[in-house]
């Protein structure tokens, strides 16, 4: 399955691994921040509705 990368196997795979992990890290960070804000907002809204009756 793995293509034969010849003598540049290290360079090519390092480039792919690095780039994909940067992208993955970025996406995970965006998702985590979004989830946290969504949760905090739900809490804040709930506090407000409880207080306002």
């Amino acid at each position: 399955m793995m293509p034969d990368l010849g003598r540049y196997a290290f360079e090519v795979s390092a480039a792919y691994i690095f780039s994909l992990s940067v992208l993955a890290g970025l996406v995970i960070w965006y998702l985590a921040r979004n989830a946290r804000m969504r949760r905090d907002l739900a809490e804040a809204e709930e506090r407000r509705s409880r207080r306002d009756g």
């Binding site: 034969d4 196997a9 360079e11 690095f18 992208l23 804000m37």
Partner: protein, 244 residues
């Protein structure tokens, strides 16, 4: 029926629309990028001179493209914010910057690792490489300014001004570095008049990967803008709680 573009500048409208748009773009982005990169990695033959390092192209060119386009997008939405005061546009600029920074890092890294076997060095002070390093610094400064300022409207205003001024100076720097050194880097990979034309076998997966990276950018900006809209709403609610 949407009467004008500007309706999306309303945060509520934006949340509604992006709510169903985001999953669609996200799925498209993942599929397109996966197709482009898998095609590029597994199903292209080695170049007769570059060997298998030609496969790095499918990461390098799309990320470099998006690194510049992200800044352009930030410039446009900064202008929109300064002129029309739509909060969504300021938050979109904030959401785009980390993606641009990551794309710049990917472009620099893949370039360095390709340069090592091809040019015999990780880094040369070539105009294009230098321009990207300068772009990287601009992204850092822009993000640092966002982080440093408490008040969201002040932060949005000042970063927008920085983005405008920075764009002018980024352009100047680009001309300056071309003046300062003639480089090793080949001309634009896809330009029509370039001496070496790229083979269709490489071009097609490259186009797919470029579309994929573009879609990733759009999806992350949508997601990030939604996050920032929520963050602002939380701030407003907390402020109101404190008041009484």
């Amino acid at each position: 029926m949407v009467s004008s573009y500007w309706e999306y500048a309303n945060p509520t409208r934006f949340m509604q629309t992006s709510g169903w748009l985001l999953p669609v773009v996200a799925v498209l982005a993942v599929v397109t990028t996966a197709v482009g990169l898998i095609w590029g990695f597994f199903f292209t033959s080695d170049d007769f001179r570059q060997g298998s390092t030609v496969k790095i192209l499918f990461l390098h060119v799309p990320s470099a493209l998006m690194a510049i386009n992200a800044w352009l997008m930030m410039l446009v939405v900064s202008l929109i914010w300064l002129i029309r005061r739509h909060h969504v546009s300021a938050l979109a600029a904030k959401a785009a910057a980390p993606v641009g920074l990551a794309m710049t890092v990917i472009a620099l890294f893949t370039g360095a690792i390709w340069g090592q076997p091809m040019w015999g060095t990780w880094w040369v002070w070539d105009p294009r490489l230098t321009s990207f390093l300068v772009l990287f610094l601009f992204y850092l400064g822009y993000l640092a300014l966002w982080q440093a300022i408490e008040d969201p409207d002040t932060a949005a205003d000042l970063t927008a001004v920085l983005c405008l001024v920075g764009s002018v100076f980024a352009l100047l720097s680009r001309y300056a570095v071309f003046f300062w050194s003639q480089g090793l880097h080949q001309g634009p990979s896809l330009s029509l008049q370039a001496g070496e034309r790229m083979d269709m076998a490489y071009k097609l997966p490259l186009y797919v990967a470029m579309t994929g990276f573009g879609l990733i950018f759009v999806a992350l900006v949508l997601l990030g803008t939604r996050t920032e809209i929520r963050a602002r709403r939380i701030k407003a609610l907390v402020a109101r709680e404190r008041m009484g």
